[in-house]
């Protein structure tokens, strides 16, 4: 993985050629010429600069020691880095610290900025439309990645025909070495990667979280330990209802947090989950069907309705905007549905101030679909004036432990203090730098863990990732463009029924009405288009 020493001379010359290329202004022919040259040497320039610096590299050390052999050949460049989340007060201090470390490595400085939660989805399309100057940008399937790619916002990172060449191959060696290939394969759009996925948990699984204190009080612990399916929950919830009356809501649901959401019923909607037309994630059949053709879905609706009518689910489930976490915090909720990962219960218990009082039950198999692989990525903007440098930076975030943790947790002794080698706790100035978005930036397996978390968190994650069932449509993202008017109609129809039906608030008979309405409004077109694109994708594989 880490070739050192022997390659040093050669990679330095490589580096030089890359520098010449970048300083020439990335002309079209220049890029192509270099591409053939680049592939002749397996070692990328980012690699080169890294191996040129002796001490800090991916795994062995986390101490800042700027390399002696700086790279004066690379022109100074300011990378504009943008992610989603709250802005941090200490950005200038972190920038200065990063620059100190980064300048000798790739002669770049950074300018950090963020778009707030909830603002991102509205504003990113505008920044793209306005051709705003950006380099490294956070993106994800759930915040408009496919649309922004279609609008020309992000650069293809592994397209050798582009003037800049295959960036991933040239400057992203450490990424391809450390990242499970499923990530890159899954996050592709029309054959290319437009963002580098964060290295983190890959599989998805559904389940429920419940309050252990209430369970013990009512003597339900054993019953809960034996739960295998959603139906098994019914007698337990009924007991809670009988013994606790109206003081406890047995099961809290809301729009998007139900038994039918994507992680529990194994649907892969091939993109946006609000447009009907899916394949089963846990199966192998690449035939696109309507959700109404899936008997499991219909059965789940009936069961949820039964729960609702028995008073096991909150009455305002269809319209409440209260998050499940807030609901639990209220103290009068016994159980919620949730997506699962190792240590979810501990994390959740901390988050709602009930440490140790929450336990998780995993339901159903672990699966992987495009949605999971493209859930957090770093893209390079088409407005970047030096995409190569941007790629080098992303590569470092995936491989350089010091840089990764500096960006994610701040400066040691100031924003965090070390408890042991890889375990930290909040420092005196933690409030001034605490982005809390490690899952957005690079490689989570390099992250320190907080002392409240399991120290073997990352090992657990690795195990969780292993052996997950791959959706037959993994790597495929539906391009809505050819049927976008039908899709716009279907989404409105779905909004009319989905939340109410899936929380059990209305009669499942309404599902037929929904289905009929979809059929009247171009469902066949959408499914045919999805199938056509999926078939083409599978054939090209």
């Amino acid at each position: 993985m880490f070739r050192k020493g022997s390659k040093r001379v050669k990679s330095s010359t490589m580096l030089l050629s890359v520098i010449l290329l970048t300083s020439m202004g990335l002309t079209a022919c220049g890029g192509n010429n270099n591409n053939s040259e680049g592939s002749s040497s397996p070692s990328s320039s980012a690699k080169a600069s890294e191996s040129a610096s002796p001490s800090p590299s991916a795994s062995d050390s986390a101490s800042p020691s700027p390399s002696e052999s700086a790279s004066p050949e690379l022109k100074p460049y300011e990378l504009k880095v943008l992610w989603e989340g709250p802005a941090q007060k200490d950005f200038p201090a972190i920038e200065a610290e990063i620059n100190k470390y980064l300048q000798p490595k790739i002669n770049a400085t950074v300018k950090l900025s963020t778009l707030d939660w909830g603002v991102y989805t509205d504003k990113m399309p505008l920044l793209i439309a306005g051709r705003t100057d950006m380099d490294v940008v956070f993106t994800a399937q759930w915040n408009g990645h496919a649309n922004n790619v279609a609008k020309g916002g992000y650069l293809a990172l592994n397209n050798p025909d582009l003037p800049v060449g295959n960036l991933l191959e040239k400057y992203g060696k450490d990424i391809t070495a450390s990242l499970d290939p499923t990530f890159l394969e899954g996050a592709k759009i029309k054959g290319f990667n437009y963002g580098i996925p964060t290295n983190k948990e890959l599989a998805a699984q559904g389940g429920v979280l419940y309050r252990t204190d209430i369970a013990e009080e009512l003597g339900l612990t054993e019953a809960l330990n034996n739960v295998k399916t959603v139906a098994d929950l019914e007698p337990i919830l009924k007991t809670v209802k009988e013994k606790k009356g109206s003081s406890i809501i047995p099961l809290f649901m809301k729009d998007g947090e139900t038994f039918n959401t994507h992680y529990m019923i194994q649907h892969d909607y091939l993109g946006d989950a609000t447009i009907d037309g899916l394949v089963r994630k846990d199966g192998d059949d690449p035939k696109v069907i309507s959700k109404f053709e899936d008997p499991d879905y219909m059965a789940q609706l009936d069961l949820t309705r039964k729960f609702f009518q028995e008073g096991l689910i909150n009455k305002d489930a269809a319209t409440t905007t209260l998050g499940t976490q807030d609901a639990m915090k209220k103290g009068n909720v016994f159980m919620i549905t949730s997506s699962m990962k190792p240590g979810k219960d501990a994390e959740f218990g901390n988050a709602i101030n009930m440490p140790g009082k929450i336990k998780q039950i995993d339901l159903g198999p672990r699966t992987v679909s495009t949605g999971e692989t493209a859930g957090a990525m770093l893209a390079i903007s088409t407005t970047s004036k030096d995409p190569a440098r941007a790629m080098m930076f992303i590569n470092l975030l995936h491989s350089d432990k010091y840089l990764n943790n500096l960006l994610n947790f701040g400066i040691e002794g100031k924003h965090y203090v070390k408890v042991s080698d890889n375990v930290i706790k909040a420092g005196p100035n933690a409030a001034d730098y605490n982005p809390g978005v490690a899952w957005e930036l690079g490689n989570q397996f390099l992250n320190y863990t907080f002392e409240t978390e399991a120290p073997d968190k990352w090992d657990q994650f690795k195990k969780f990732n292993e052996g997950a069932h791959k959706s037959p449509a993994l790597g495929f993202t539906f391009d809505v463009e050819p049927v976008k008017s039908q899709a716009a109609v279907l989404i409105n129809i779905a909004k009319q029924y989905q939340a109410a039906l899936e929380t059990g608030s209305i009669d499942p008979k309404k599902a037929q009405e929904w289905y009929d309405k979809e059929k009247k409004n171009g469902l066949a077109d959408v499914i045919a288009e999805k199938q056509k694109q999926l078939d083409a994708f599978l054939a090209s594989k």
Partner: protein
């Protein structure tokens, strides 16, 4: 200045006359163009130059290649507006609510203004005016929470406290029963916005010359009579302008009211889905500004036709009251 105008008016030789007239016109009215220049400049920047960009309604835009070089797609972006089986329902909702709002804003707004104006105690009148205006300060988000505070099926004020007073014990599930919303929405809209319209009507009434009323009182006209034959006719131009401008936006609706206050609850769509919310939801999925541009164009064209027609009719009746 006056001299020039008179001269030009009586001149005989035609070309000279023309020229003189022009000079006279510019000397007399040229200053008007200076007065209008700043506003025109702002309009140009804000409205007219960006209109060139609305060609994206006919394009499939890729910003990397640029708006002007993106491929044309004809009417494709408009298709989704009409391709739904709910098209009629959405259009109907949009128009009917707007008509109700316009009528309520007019009748209640004028009525409140008249009442304020006839209160004996001026200080009290001022106090009540201020109160009436308060809801306008609240954003739709806050109003959404307030409405939810009332209508929450479990702990809402209405189900928990008020309805039991009237002997209704069965709680009503307000957010899944669409039949109540044709009443709830106009009430909320009027409650929030009526202060806005009342202020204009009040300003108009205050501006009326008191001599008219004095003369009428001497003639022994009743209060009601005075309102009918003096106040209303004199504020008619304001009524026409305010109402006509609302008519021009008959295909638009207040997003905050229809999306947030209803909590975008699906089961209510029969009576709450309007063009703007419909388009917004489509946009979230497709992320295509071309489609929203297309919808905007459609809304504008309809509004334009309606306003143009009404304006024409008003012009026939009374030229001075016409908008343009």
């Amino acid at each position: 200045m006056e001299q020039t105008v008179q001269n030009s008016g009586s001149a005989l030789s035609k070309p000279v006359n023309q020229k003189k007239q022009n000079i006279g016109y510019w000397r007399k009215y040229g200053v008007f163009y200076f007065m209008m220049a700043p506003a025109l400049l702002v309009l140009l920047v804000n409205n007219y130059l960006p209109m060139i960009g609305s060609i994206i309604a006919f394009k499939n835009v890729n910003y990397q290649t640029g708006v002007f070089h993106s491929p044309w797609v004809g009417w494709a972006n408009f298709k989704f507006l009409f391709s739904t089986s709910d098209a009629w329902n959405i259009t109907k909702n949009t128009i009917i609510y707007n008509v109700i709002f316009i009528v309520l804003n007019l009748i209640i707004g004028v009525a409140l203004a008249l009442l304020f104006n006839s209160m004996r105690n001026r200080k009290l009148a001022k106090f009540h005016q201020t109160m009436m205006f308060l809801p306008y300060f609240l954003s739709w988000i806050i109003i959404t929470y307030l409405v939810y505070g009332f209508l929450n099926p479990e702990i809402g004020l209405l189900n928990k406290t008020i309805l039991p007073w009237f002997g209704v014990d069965q709680p009503i599930d307000w957010y899944t029963e669409s039949k109540y919303w044709p009443y709830i929405l106009p009430i909320v809209n009027t409650w929030k916005g009526i202060g806005y319209y009342a202020v204009f009507y009040l300003a108009a009434i205050i501006g009326i010359d008191k001599e008219y009323y004095e003369a009428a009182t001497i003639d022994g006209a009743t209060k009601w009579r005075q309102i009918r034959s003096i106040t209303i006719p004199l504020i008619r131009p304001v009524i026409i302008v305010l109402s006509l401008l609302q008519v021009g936006r008959i295909f638009y609706s207040d997003f905050g009211l229809f999306y947030q206050v209803t909590r975008n609850s699906g089961p209510l769509y029969d009576t709450t889905l309007v063009i703007d919310t419909y388009v917004y939801q489509g946009l979230v999925v497709t992320g295509d500004f071309g489609m929203s541009s297309a919808a905007g164009m459609y809304q504008a064209v309809v509004g334009f036709v309606v306003v143009f027609t009404s304006n024409l009719i008003i012009r026939r009746i009374s030229k001075d009251d016409a908008l343009f």
